[in-house]
Amino acid sequence: MEVADIIIKFVLVVVIFAISLVIAMYSTYAERKIAAFFQDRIGPNRAGPWGIFQPLADGGKMFLKEEIIPTNSNTFLFIAGPSLAILTACIGSAVIPWGQQLVIGKYTIPLQVTDINVGVLYIFGVVSLGVYGIMIGGWASNNKYSLLGAIRAASQNISYEIAMGLSIIALLMVTGTLSLKEIAAKQHGFWYHGWFTWNFFRQPLGFLLFIVCAFAETNRAPFDLPECETELIGGYHTEYSSMKLGFYLFSEYINMFVSGAVMATLYFGGYNFPFMHYFSGNVLALLGVVALFAKIFFFIFFFMWVRWTLPRFRYDQLMDLGWKILIPLAIANIIITGVWITYL
């Protein structure tokens, strides 16, 4: 590997890292604004024009708050919890193909940090690690509400990961690859040979299952039982304050961003967009990035839209939905897909 390659990768990592953090930051602002619009309000509008500096003010507040570590907590695990949560949230974006390659001079820059051939599995591994941040934090707090929140998070994630994995298997049967780059490349354009190229139109049920599970995995409403203000005070982050709390909240928004990117890549064509054959070269690559981000922003908006529409599930309803409905449906989806591939 040349020095130039290393520098290119390093720059790409830093850029993606910065973008995910900025998007997570502004997701908090977007959440507040969108919540306000859904409730016929205005939302934050004091910090700067239309309140666009609100995330900076919130961040500054988080940093300046008193840092409290409960006396009877396990200090090491108490600090490890939010660190792990934000770490796992940030590394998920490494395998996402953000676009096709850019050509600058003699260098070809693929807009993907790494194209490992088990990209989907990597995402799954990282997402499953995310629950440890919540569990460790909830356990280390030495607070019954935190512990309840952590237990809920763990059992919820285990239940929904099965359905998520099964819904992905059907997708992998269609695409025949685990590499996210190839999955995105196979959905080139929008319309080909009389049918849509995007996987959503081959796997609509799979996508439905996947998005429901994505809501559960990111602990978003209506599956936000681990935090659940009304029952568990704050759930796993009850005892947290200052930037450690900020890390938990931040990791939730980064997870939303990453899962939006994953959904866009797996089911909605990633960086592909209709009429893309009119463009070529760097213009095509940049437009692809724009298209991918538009899809991601739509998914983030959809997450928020659902949050302000649906009430929270009761815990037994959550488990019923996961085990008795989603998993059988996912298995049925695999069988239907298998029959479809074999006989059509």
Partner: protein
């Protein structure tokens, strides 16, 4: 029992059908409802810049009126204090001296006129009781303060500003 009104409604407890149990149609309906609100005009009044209009018959802070020549109308008859259900009004009467004809309309006037704004219930009975049309509850809200004693408003706060001649 015979129903007392025709509003009685028999509720059937029938089991959910397949579409209702599938959640999704209901979720789509809910999403449409929230989306309708998304494009609706916000009802917020951004307070310090915009202020909500007081209604026409709003009863706010009292003011003691002057007549067309700028003389105080109040004659300290005490009917307002008598009518006050919350006993918020006290006053001390005094006789008008020579040379004060341009200040007070009648021979008697209120040397001290105090309303305890923490007791006042803004019912408006004082303005109804007043025979001289001297007191009206036509002011804005009574502002907040830190000490109880600061809520006892004297003539300095109640009497209308003198006319400019």
């Amino acid at each position: 029992m015979e129903p007392l009104s025709n509003k009685r409604k028999v509720i059937e407890d029938k089991p959910l059908n397949f579409l209702e149990r599938a959640y999704l149609p209901a979720i789509v309906q809910g999403l449409a409802t929230t989306m309708k609100h998304f494009f609706r005009k916000p009802v917020t009044i951004a307070y310090p810049e915009q202020k909500r209009e007081y209604s026409e018959n709003f009863r706010g802070m009292h003011s003691l009126k002057r007549d067309e020549n700028g003389k105080e109308r109040c004659t300290a008859c005490g009917l307002c204090a008598l009518s006050c259900p919350a006993e918020a009004i006290t006053m001390t009467a005094a006789e008008r001296q020579k040379g004060e004809e341009n200040l007070y309309r009648e021979e008697k006037y209120a040397a001290v006129y105090e309303i305890n704004m923490l007791r006042c219930i803004f019912c408006g009975l004082c303005e109804e009781a007043c025979p001289k049309e001297a007191i009206y509850l036509d002011g804005p809200h009574v502002p907040s303060d830190y000490l109880r004693k600061d809520f006892i408003y004297g003539k300095d706060k109640l009497v209308e500003a003198p006319l400019n001649q």
